[in-house]
């Protein structure tokens, strides 16, 4: 996925103005995710779970060299091959070489943000390899040639009508087909793909150093199939995805699922140790794990930003973010969007490349409250802003416009007032003006004193 972050102001404005259906779909989905997350946090002692998870990841990140070496040794003892990639280009080369060695013509993929980050699919396609995204949402986006807009629900910006239209056109389904029929049509195509694929490619939610276990969480079963049916399985794993021990995995599997979708655990979890060896195991003959840096050591070396490496990519901060809910993920211009994107992208890409994302927030604090590993996103945003100011990276005007967007999104009374005016003035014109009203930007950089109060207000506002 190419980087289009610098167009954030324009693209967020366009998203709000020209694609109201995106806002409706994204707001609907994220509000639902967020409510499920709250309920699931309420069922456990979420506070101590989150502190524990923060502690485990901090321990991991301050001993990462040792754990990387341990994970590698374990994986190799299990019969898996370990590869190291400094950047996107090396990651692509490693996978392409494996594909060539196995004369792979067809590849099935499980959802992986890292493979988006390193732009793997276009490289495979250029090599003449057929690539099937097998997560239903990713498959929809592949047909549309669109990047994912959310870490967990890649196609949440799409409505049923849009999918009906797409599938009628491409899979010859009934134009009024219900979600069951549509899913069945996709399943039929992908079932053949699974059975005929030469290689399965996935990411990895966790890599347990103690046992050399790549753990993958999902709900559809497509990752189980991707890691089980093809002869070769390749997992691309960011170096920050490690966990020290198996007992840590037990906690992280549960906390991540609760944060992401409010489930006690994903419907399916795959634990991959290595290639099939026991009689009766029909799994892959080869398992390759590619450990990818691609900017992560830069983040680890950064005085403040390293804390963002605790991220488990649950999407909870996106779901709860009033700014993300307005635009969806595409406006942010890169793989990682929403609050985590705004603090991680500057670290992974360099602050210059990621401008103006640190300013795309009202610092309301909701993301921190949701985050299962307690990444202090508002603080990190402030420290990126400070760094940007020191480096003279951002013109005042753009910052004011972004602050206007963020403030409008997080202040329901103003939002409702503007919406009321909008009814009088004509919806289009109001929508165009809404986020950019200059007089709303006066208090743009002040943290909201009471996030809880405003979030209650916000929830009332969208009912």
């Amino acid at each position: 996925m190419s980087v289009r972050i610098s167009e954030y102001a324009t693209r967020s404005r366009e998203a709000i103005r020209d694609r109201p259906e995106v806002r409706t779909a994204v707001t609907g989905a994220t509000v639902a995710f967020d409510e499920k997350r709250r309920r699931a946090y309420g069922e456990v002692d979420a506070d101590s779970w989150r502190r524990w998870a923060e502690g485990v990841k901090n321990h991991l990140l301050t001993h990462l060299d040792d754990y990387l070496a341990e994970a590698e040794a374990q994986l190799e003892a299990n019969g898996a091959d370990v590869h190291w990639a400094r950047d996107a280009d090396e990651a692509r080369q490693i996978v392409l070489a494996l594909a060539a060695r196995h004369s792979a013509r067809s590849v099935v993929k499980g959802k992986s943000m890292l493979t988006e980050e390193v732009e793997l699919n276009p490289a495979l396609e250029r090599a003449g390899i057929e690539v099937y995204e097998t997560d239903l949402g990713e498959y929809i986006l592949q047909l549309l040639d669109e990047p994912p807009s959310h870490i967990v629900g890649p196609a949440i910006h799409k409505t049923l009508e849009q999918v009906q239209h797409l599938f009628a056109d491409r899979l010859e389904t009934d134009p009024g087909g219900d979600p069951d029929e549509l899913a069945r049509a996709a399943r039929d195509v992908l079932r053949d793909a699974f059975i005929n694929a030469d290689m399965g490619i996935t990411g990895g939610n966790f890599l347990v150093a103690e046992t050399g276990t790549v753990a993958l969480i999902e709900n559809e079963g497509n990752i189980r199939l991707t890691t089980s049916l093809p002869r070769v399985h390749v997992a691309l794993v960011g170096i920050e995805k490690l966990l020290p021990r198996m007992s840590d995995l037990a906690g992280f599997l549960q906390l991540t699922a609760r944060a992401a979708t409010g489930q006690p655990i994903g419907c399916f979890v795959s634990l991959v140790q290595g290639p099939a060896s026991a009689p009766g195991d029909d799994g892959p003959e080869e398992v390759h794990v590619v450990l990818v840096d691609n900017g992560r050591t830069d983040v680890l070396l950064h005085e403040h930003a390293w804390e963002a490496l605790r991220c488990v990519r649950c999407g909870a901060c996106l779901n709860t973010c009033p700014v993300y809910r307005q635009t969806g993920g595409h406006a942010y211009g890169w793989v990682y969007s929403g609050p985590i994107g705004s603090v991680l992208d500057p670290g992974l890409l360099g602050l210059h490349e990621a401008m103006p994302l640190p300013f795309a927030s009202s610092l309301c604090g909701a993301c921190f409250d949701a985050c299962p590993v307690r990444i202090p996103i508002p603080e990190l945003l402030l420290s990126w802003r400070e760094e940007a100011q020191q480096k003279g990276l951002t013109p005042w005007k753009e910052r004011a416009a972004l602050a206007g967007l963020a403030t409008a999104a997080t202040r329901p009374p103003l939002y409702r007032a503007a919406a009321r005016i909008g009814t009088r003035l004509g919806a289009t014109r109001a929508a165009r003006k809404l986020p950019m009203l200059s007089d709303w930007s006066n208090d743009r950089d002040l943290p909201r004193p009471s996030p809880h109060t405003f979030r209650q207000l916000w929830r009332q506002g969208i009912k």
Partner: protein
């Protein structure tokens, strides 16, 4: 922890132009700049709402598993598991025309082949289930509407039968080792899983720690049927994996 001994070893097979050494050197440099933070120890789960009388793991398992759309069946204690399972599968309906059986399911937990009567004695059928890749044993229920083909691959079976290594109460999960046939666990639309008696763990951590000692190449945790909400935020089941996931608790 294997630690720095392995960290300093010569370049490994999967190393592209010294990538390994360079990444590790940068990581070491970063970790040297901040203090080593301690591991916080174990996470206590689940926080029992009423610690005085925690419910039996099996009760919690049934509650959690069914709340995730999984189904639970209890065999008739007066019949042999084979007889019970054969009738149970017959009761699933006409679409069940072939059954795929995981490589590690013992004969006593397999349904009767199509032309064999459901009698307890003399039907041991001790032949080992299929061992070849994606070609496990296939049997058919009695009174099957269509003649059954042996060696039908799991993608053509209506039902897959597996043996769980264990189950987890707090998450409502079945633990399926890859020593069973993965294709049987994943491809048929209905998945029936035997859970041996006494193998329901209260906590996921306890199960994983015991499993650690005998960890197979692959493990699947299945907590209900395949689900997706990717189309219009509407939940559909059976997208890629089984649409029905039925746990059978041996008593």
């Amino acid at each position: 922890m294997s630690g720095s001994a392995t960290r300093d070893r010569p370049e490994s097979r999967g190393d592209l132009g010294g990538a390994r050494a360079r990444i590790l050197a940068r990581v070491t440099r970063a970790t040297a700049t901040r203090g080593k933070l301690p591991h916080p120890g174990r996470l206590e789960t689940p926080p029992a709402p009423d610690p005085a009388t925690p419910p039996a793991p099996t009760t919690t398992f049934v509650k959690r598993f069914t709340s995730q759309c999984g189904e639970v069946a209890t065999p008739d204690p007066d019949r042999s598991p084979r007889d019970w399972l054969t009738s149970f599968i017959n009761g699933l309906g006409d679409e069940v025309n072939a059954i795929a059986i995981g490589a590690d399911v013992p004969a006593r937990l397999q349904p009767h082949p199509p032309d064999m009567p459901p009698a307890d004695a003399g039907t041991a059928g001790g032949e080992s289930p299929g061992q070849s890749r994606h070609a496990p044993a296939v049997a058919g229920p009695r009174n099957s509407p269509q003649p059954l083909h042996h060696a039908v691959p799991p993608e053509h079976a209506g039902v897959g039968i597996s043996l769980a290594w264990g189950a987890v109460a707090e998450t409502g999960s079945l633990i399926l080792p890859s020593t069973g046939t993965r294709a049987v666990q994943l491809l048929p639309p209905v998945h029936i899983i035997w859970v041996p008696a006494g193998r329901v763990f209260a906590r996921l951590e306890d199960a994983l720690l015991e499993l650690r000692a005998e960890l197979p190449a692959g493990v699947g945790l299945h907590s209900g049927p395949s689900k997706s909400a990717d189309i219009g935020q509407t939940v559909v089941t059976g997208v890629h994996g089984p649409g029905r996931c039925i746990a059978v608790l041996e008593s």
